[in-house]
Amino acid sequence: MIVPFNHVLILAGLLFLMGIFCVVARRSLIMILLGVEVMLNAAAILLVGASLRWQNLDGQAIVLFVFAIAAAEVSVGLALIVWAYRRTGSINPENYNILK
């Protein structure tokens, strides 16, 4: 007996919301990536809780793959940020608006 599953849902939801907030409202590319990480973490918590709820190991497998993909994505993303910083000298996304 741990907790009702809804509580895990609520925790994951709040965490996800914070991740969205970080992505949308921070004026820095690195913080955007950080927010993505927070969102991924929230999803992982939810998946593990769901796997426990339905006593199915598939959820945990998914979380394993999420970790791997997150690692790959962060490395490429940060490389991109460094490259962009060298090109433009700024990590403020307001300066990256030539695609408007």
């Binding site: 969205i20 992505v23 949308v24 955007i32 996304p93 307001e94 990256y96 608006n97």
Partner: protein, 627 residues
């Protein structure tokens, strides 16, 4: 009705009388604008045939017992059927004859008066329009038709008052006349609607009939009568809508003679006579009518006492005499009002036409100027003026004396002696201001340079203007002796309660005495050698001001319009237009532009806004799929 109109001579005569002037109007306006003499000929021919038809009808139906009605169905709406056509009975036939006679004489007179004017054809077109409208109005069988032609007569009046439209004062006067009478007509229409709601139709014979009392309660009859009387107040220039008539003297003098003395303003009194049985049902309304007539009569008499303009004096006199007619009718005597209407048409038109000769010859409206320039040397106009003035003052044996006697007799029948006293006072004042004018012209003070150009125009024009004067003078002299015949004529009129003829033997002598007293006072102040030609009223400066400013009625209207209409009502509407309507639309467009500006933020190329949009869409998708 249409198919066999030729077989009924009365119907033929009625159609000829009313429609020929209309045909003349159309022909002149469309075809003969450039040919003034042809236009005049068309118009006079049309109105001449109307006159012959009118007299034919009058003679043929002299002993009419039941009214003749010729109607066709015009409008059918639900269960309201509006007919149009002609109603021939004593009232309408007499009025038709009066209108036709005066119209014909004035149109002949205008040949000389308006000769050389640039708008000669237009003048005759408007005269024909007026003749059509007025004659159709007198022969209307339903109040709706009467109302339509009532308005058309107002239109003709507007066109003719502002005939010399280059003069700003003339156009202003025309506008004022139209708006003031329109104001009365609104009340008129409301009264008609009230009657229509209760009675189901607006047939004149039915309105005068006995069913009205059963279908409408007496309060409604009183209210309807008062509202309809609003139209009479407007059209006949009674208190409080009387200030348009003096201003209407801006029009040519024949117009003043025809419209604003004899026929159009008498249309109000005619309406009173037409609906006399209907109005008689409400004693309260008749009392109010009596009051309004008295007030108008006295007010206008005071205004005439201080006026210098010859046409203005006759205009005020018209208002006063119309009030007198209304007094007679409201006192309960149908014959009194109608008889005075007929005689007044004769001598007032004569007075105006003579004034026209003076004005035409001496280029001035001011009576002192006319006198100084030798007005008394124009023999025929002067003689006719004296005859007509004597009739107006009520001196025997002219027609005015007889008709005034009937009215005073009717007033004496009333319980309150106040009305009779007012009537006698009015008679005194009438005689006074009339002979004031006569003596100023007859005995000018500084007769320095009497201009020799008394007869300004060629004798041809003078004679054309001359013999209508003679005809009218003859009518004025002789009409009084037809009183008995007319009384017998009207005794056949449907629905008229027989007026109790109490015999007041002292009344004629009192009236003659007062009239002679007025003449004497005028002689003392104006006619005597060495008199200073300043009236007793003019010596009292505040009274002089009060009367000259028309009892400040115009000022009151101006203030009322400025403060209330412009200040409050139109201010409110202008502000509503600017702030609410315009402001609302502007605000809407502003909001749209601002929303666009906000939305354009999304297009700034910021990746974070795009992420936000993705997030919002996901939320909505989630909503859609899970709820």
């Amino acid at each position: 009705m249409i198919t066999n109109w030729l077989s009924e001579p009365s119907l033929t005569a009625a159609i000829l009388a009313t429609l020929l002037p209309f045909a003349a109007f159309i022909l002149i306006m469309v075809f003969t604008r450039k040919y003034p003499r042809l236009s005049a000929g068309l118009s006079i021919a049309a109105v001449g045939i109307s006159l012959i038809s009118a007299l034919f009808l009058l003679v043929r139906h002299w002993h009419l017992q039941t009214p003749l009605e010729y109607t066709g169905r015009w409008l059918l709406s639900g269960d309201v059927a509006v007919p149009f056509g002609y109603l021939l009975d004593q009232t309408s036939l007499l009025m038709l004859s009066v209108v036709a006679t005066i119209s014909f004489l004035v149109q002949v007179y205008s040949l000389g008066y308006m000769a050389g004017d640039a708008g000669f054809s237009r003048y005759y077109a408007c005269m024909s329009l007026f003749a059509w409208a007025m004659m159709s109005m007198t022969l209307s069988p339903t109040m709706l038709q009467l109302y339509i032609f009532w308005e058309l007569v107002g239109l003709a009046s507007y066109l003719l008052i502002g005939f010399w439209y280059e003069k700003f004062s003339a156009t202003e006067a025309g506008k004022k006349a139209f708006v003031m009478t329109r104001f009365g007509d609104v009340a008129f229409f409301l009264g008609l609607l009230l009657v229509l709601v209760h009675l189901g139709n607006l047939n004149v014979l039915e309105m005068n009939g006995p069913q009205v009392a059963t279908r409408m309660s007496s309060t409604y009859i009183t209210i309807a009568a008062l509202l309809i009387f609003g139209g009479i107040i407007g059209k006949s220039a009674q208190f409080p809508l009387l200030t348009w008539l003096p201003d209407a003297m801006e029009g040519p003098t024949p117009v003043s003679a025809l419209l604003h003395s004899a026929t159009m303003v008498a249309a109000g009194v005619y309406l009173f006579g037409r609906l006399f049985p209907f109005f008689s049902q409400s004693a309260a309304a008749m009392a109010i009518f009596l009051m309004i007539g008295t007030v108008s009569m006295l007010l206008a008499s005071t205004m005439a006492m201080v006026s210098r303009d010859i046409k203005q004096v006759w205009a005020y006199s018209t208002i006063s005499q119309l009030g007198f007619m209304i007094m007679g009718l409201a006192a309960g005597s149908y014959f009194a009002g109608m008889f005075h209407l007929t005689t007044h048409a004769g001598f007032k038109a004569l007075l105006f036409l003579c004034a026209g000769v003076f004005i035409h010859s001496f280029e001035s409206n001011d009576m002192f100027d006319i006198g100084r320039q030798g007005g008394r040397r124009l023999k025929i106009p002067m003689a006719c003026t004296i005859i007509a003035a004597a009739a107006l003052a009520g001196l025997p044996p002219l027609s005015g004396f007889f008709s005034k006697e009937v009215i005073l007799g009717a007033l004496a029948e009333l319980n309150n002696p106040l009305w009779l006293a007012a009537g006698l006072l009015g008679a005194f004042l009438t005689a006074y201001y009339t002979f004031r004018l006569i003596f100023i012209i007859l005995f000018p003070r500084q007769s320095g340079a009497e201009s020799e150009s008394g007869h300004g125009h060629d004798h041809g024009g003078y004679w054309v203007m001359g013999w209508p004067l003679i005809v009218l003078a003859a009518i004025t002299v002789l009409l009084g002796f037809f009183q008995g015949a007319l009384e017998a004529f009207f005794s056949g009129q449907q629905g008229i309660p027989v007026a109790g003829a109490g015999h007041h033997g002292w009344l004629p002598f009192a009236a003659i005495g007062l009239a002679l007293g007025g003449v004497l006072l005028a002689w003392l102040e104006f006619g005597r050698q060495g008199a200073d030609q300043v009236g007793f009223v003019e010596k009292i400066a505040p009274l002089n001001h009060l009367f000259a400013q028309r009892w400040y009625i115009d000022r009151f209207y101006r203030r009322f319009m400025d403060v209330f209409i412009y200040g409050v009502v139109s201010n409110l509407f202008t502000r509503n237009d600017k702030k609410v309507i315009d402001g609302g639309l502007d605000g809407l467009s502003q909001a749209t532009v601002e929303t666009g500006r906000l939305v354009s933020l999304l297009h700034r190329g910021m990746v974070q806004y795009r992420l936000l949009t993705i997030f919002v869409v996901l939320v909505f998708l989630g909503l859609y799929f899970f709820i």
